[in-house]
């Protein structure tokens, strides 16, 4: 079985994987980092979004071997110790989450949006979130959360 190595949340990790192992499976099953979730099997829902070399990506669309040598940040690596990232804080302030299942992907995706388009309009925020499905919130408070983070990030 191939061996992959990468940096995850600042820590060097490696492990043996099958060729078919997805990055999300490597994170959840090999590294036991269960913050990144799997909500579908067609790369639609976005619950598994992480940052790979700084860009948001669905970790179910990458094989673990493709992520060899990359720098990965997951939801577990976003906060600074006990201090939440401004995006996490914004979701809490604005009730941007309910069941919490889509939240890791939603937050990681939103962080990348604000980094890439700090002044995104409400319309642009909604369009950006097209790849992240939430069944609980109706998105209203997620949009509000991201608008707050645009001010605080």
């Amino acid at each position: 079985m191939p061996t992959v190595s990468m940096t995850v949340n600042g820590k060097q990790v490696s492990g043996e994987v099958e060729g078919r192992t997805l990055l999300v499976q490597f994170l959840r099953e090999n590294l036991h980092m269960t913050g990144t979730h799997v909500g579908c099997d067609t790369s639609q829902c976005g619950a598994c979004v992480v940052h790979v070399n700084g860009d948001s990506m669905k970790s179910c669309t990458l094989l673990a071997v493709q992520a060899d040598g990359t720098d990965v940040t997951t939801i577990e690596g976003l906060a600074d110790g006990d201090t939440l990232h401004p995006m996490q804080e914004a979701f809490r302030d604005n009730h941007g989450l309910q069941c919490g299942f889509c939240t890791p992907g939603m937050v990681m995706s939103a962080v990348d949006l604000v980094k890439k388009n700090p002044k995104a309009s409400e319309h642009e925020i909604r369009e950006w979130l097209e790849g992240n499905i939430c069944r609980c919130t109706g998105y209203h408070n997620i949009v509000k959360s991201i608008q707050q983070a645009q001010q605080t990030m």
Partner: protein, 791 residues
């Protein structure tokens, strides 16, 4: 601390958020037990087929495989149904067996055929491909009308596809009223089948401890105690003291995680047989073909009116799809949660409804957010909108003319329910203001100038929450009581753990329930813990569905807190050497009335556990009280939803421009959470109206089997919502609360479709099915404008 403190009415930020925001939630698939194995369920690719044989030999010898089981191996009870409905002739509904693994025949695409258990999930899945099932395909019955015509039977042994034929009301009396009516408005209504799609797929981990003979099931459930009861008593014959069911963090339910599913029984049953814990997690494509679906009604309805547009009588005939088997609560949804709501917010004196529940070769159908009430509301509010058109009355005038007046409560409807409180005129007035209905004409003109059609739609509704009381639901066929339990355990240093039988899967109980405690016992939030979801911690519970958690579960907590305060007063009286009746409790301090002698809550708690001088014949040590609360009635949230849409007649694209909801959910404990619940409900309601629809082909294959075919609402499908509340208190619970979890999904679909029809009315389109996709809307426009289409 938020403005208003941390008690009732304060928008306290959620206690649970930090773990969810940092990736530290604990969902079932996150749980890994030592030496765990993995299960893959082989499912039927046919909607209807005989199983002539299953060869598992090759799979059993595949790498990593520990065991393969089929229906022939699994000699257990079937999955039980929790509600028995009787037909109008008095006969009980047909209740065919539902084996966890199919025996003899498969009855829907996705039916469980075999389970493979292996060291890894990939090995189990690979091995399943080696199982050879000899299927003898049979004709499938997919549509409800076809199912009633005879021919193929879903369950041969019952000789019919009709599960029950139920009625409420006096048909002869109704027909007489229709004969005398000034005008009768008729409508055909289809309530589209939906797939719940909680974002967390279902999962289950079963394990068995040979040393203690104890089983543990971790599962994605809205009601772990109910699963323990159903699975333990009816399927696997495991006594409850040897069976622990844990529903940890659960990623959304919307009804779909109420029911006892086969996979829960399979992993629990198989765990001792392979001698290892077993995990099963659904892939999303499995969720589509194995989670209970929602809605799926076909109805005909007519309203008799006098010359002033006053409703005289309503007659409804409904066909309700049960799918291939009876899911846990399926039979009650199109009867006691649907027909009993057909009075709506109106004084219609006579109502008759006939419901035929029908088996088809499709996934079982059960309660989905709103369960019966959205179907009733959609039918009624579409019919009322049509009545207004035919009577040449405005949409609001016809509603106001028929509202149950605010001074008429308690109001007995002709369909069994007695509403305790409400003010439908007030909610309508407030919604009209919030929506800026006055500005609609100008907005419509602006849309027209762009070549778009703009319409406005109303829905004024009432629903029934907190399903209860036990005596009533028992008389209607429920095989369970519908109370809730709570335990308030005060620890020696004054902090409190509340054990509740409700279950939170996004609703924020850890915050809202803690606010009840903060308010009553005067404690800071940090000193309060809400524990739920583990049958080894919580004595019993009926769980969370039907917006019952606060109105039933919250009241149980209040009742237990009352007992804590009573006991604490005894302790304070003893220590302060005063009469118990002189002890007052306020803001966390026990005081002897009229004196400065007092004890803080924490001091009393400590004394309870350090009872050095207690008169033990009068006063027990400890401070830990339990309560069961069985409500006196349902609660009746109601409200008004107004939707404004813009339709592009060239493409059929409908855009929701404004969505206003003013809901009366009774007293609001946490306005931030209530608003969030309403937003989520609105999204599911608008989703049903415009985007979502479960489609089977004629062979019973699910066409909408993934997120590429089933249109889940995305962020760019919605505007910002305007959600407000108008409060009348529930008259029969101490908190005055009604429930807010489903109002959004119940009230909004007819408001949306009424708006679409309003937008297209002048083009000649007077009806619109759900979902009003661009294709459906475009086709409807073409159908009435053949000349335009030919151009």
């Amino acid at each position: 601390m938020p403005e208003g403190g941390t008690g009732i009415g304060a928008a306290v930020k959620r206690v649970e958020d930090k773990r969810f925001l940092t990736g530290r939630g604990n969902y079932t698939d996150d749980i890994n037990r030592p030496n765990q194995s993995h299960a893959y369920i082989l499912r039927s690719p046919h909607a209807h087929a005989a199983i002539n044989g299953i060869d598992t030999g090759a799979a059993k010898s595949a790498p990593g495989v520990l065991a393969v089981f089929t229906g022939e191996d699994m000699e257990t009870g079937g999955l039980p149904c929790g509600w028995q409905v009787h037909s109008k002739d008095g006969s009980p509904m047909h209740e065919p067996p539902h084996p966890p693994l199919a025996k003899g025949k498969v009855r829907h695409v996705g039916d469980q055929v075999a389970v493979v258990i292996a060291d890894t999930y990939a090995q189990a899945k690979d091995a399943a491909e080696l199982i050879a099932v000899d299927y003898g395909p049979l004709p499938a019955v997919v549509g409800m009308n076809d199912a009633l015509k005879g021919g193929s039977l879903v369950h041969d042994e019952i000789g019919t596809n009709l599960c029950y034929d139920w009625e409420i009301g006096d048909e002869a009396q109704i027909d007489e009223a229709f004969a005398k009516a000034h005008h009768v408005t008729e409508i055909d209504i289809v309530n589209n089948r939906l797939i719940p799609n909680a974002m967390e797929p279902r999962a289950a981990v079963g394990e068995y401890d040979r040393a203690t003979d104890e089983y543990t099931l971790f599962t994605t459930s809205q009601n772990p105690h109910v699963i323990r009861l159903l699975m333990g008593a009816f399927v696997l014959s495991i006594p409850e003291h040897k069976l622990r069911v844990v529903a940890p963090d659960v990623g959304g339910g919307f009804g779909s995680k109420i029911y006892h599913y086969a996979e829960e029984a399979i992993v629990t049953w198989a765990a001792p047989r392979v001698g290892r814990p077993i995990k099963w997690t659904a892939e999303r494509s499995e969720s589509f073909i194995s989670d209970a679906h929602g809605r799926d009604h076909i109805s005909k309805a007519k309203m008799a009116m006098d010359s002033e547009g006053k409703f005289l009588a309503l007659k409804v005939e409904t066909k309700a799809n049960m799918g291939a088997y009876l899911s846990t609560f399926a039979p009650c949804v199109p009867t006691y949660l649907y027909a009993t709501l057909l009075a709506g917010v109106y004084t219609t004196p006579l109502i008759y409804c006939n419901v035929k529940a029908i088996f088809t070769n499709t996934v079982p159908v059960d309660a989905y957010r709103g369960a019966g009430r959205p179907e009733a509301t959609y039918l009624l509010e579409r019919l009322v909108a049509k009545c207004a058109h035919e009577m040449k009355m405005s949409q609001t005038d016809i509603r106001r003319a028929n509202f149950i007046p605010a001074d008429a409560f308690p109001y007995q409807t002709p369909v069994a329910l007695q509403y305790d409180s409400g003010n439908y005129t007030a909610t309508l007035n407030k919604a009209e203001l919030a929506h800026d209905v006055a500005g609609f004409a100008a907005r419509k003109a602006a849309s027209m100038a762009k070549g778009k059609s703009r319409g406005i739609g109303y829905s004024t509704y009432v629903e029934a929450c907190g399903i209860a009381p036990s005596a009533v639901v028992g008389s209607l066929g429920a095989r369970a009581g519908l109370y809730e339990s709570a335990e308030v355990r005060v620890h020696p240093t004054g902090s409190v753990t509340v054990f509740t039988g409700s279950h939170s899967h996004g609703q924020g109980h850890e915050t809202t329930f803690a606010q009840l405690v903060s308010e009553r016992l005067g404690l800071p939030m940090a000193n309060i813990e809400i524990s739920h979801g583990d049958t080894n911690k919580v004595q019993f519970g009926m769980g969370t569905y039907g917006s019952r958690s606060l109105a039933v579960g919250g009241e149980a907590i209040v009742k237990a807190m009352d007992k804590v305060v009573t006991k604490a007063k005894k302790i304070a009286a003893h220590i302060l050497e005063a009469s118990e009746s002189d002890i007052e409790f306020k803001d966390g301090v026990f005081t002897v009335a009229g004196t400065d002698r007092s004890m803080a809550f924490g001091e009393v708690a400590l004394a309870a556990y350090v009872p050095h001088n207690f008169p033990h014949d009068e006063l027990e040590p400890g401070l830990d009280e339990k309560a069961f609360y069985d409500p006196l009635n349902f609660t009746f949230p109601g409200g008004c939803h107004i939707c404004e849409v813009e339709v592009d007649p060239d493409t059929g694209v409908v855009s929701v421009e404004r969505m206003t909801a003013v809901d009366d959910v009774g007293r609001v404990i946490n306005p931030m959470i209530v608003e969030g619940q309403i937003h989520g409900g609105l999204a599911q309601g608008i989703g049903q109206a415009l985007l979502e629809g479960c489609v089977y082909d004629a062979d019973g294959q699910l066409v909408t089997g993934s997120y590429m075919d089933y249109c889940m609402p995305r962020a760019d499908n919605f505007p910002n919502f305007s959600a407000g509340t108008e409060v009348t208190l529930c008259a029969h619970n101490s908190l005055g609360v009604k429930g807010c979890g489903e109002v959004g999904a119940i009230g909004s679909p007819p408001a949306v479709i009424n708006a679409v029809v309003d937008a297209l009315w002048d083009l000649g389109v007077h009806d619109m099915p759900m979902p009003a996709t661009p294709q459906a809307v475009w086709k409807a426009i073409q159908a009435v404008a053949p000349a335009a289409a030919a151009e």
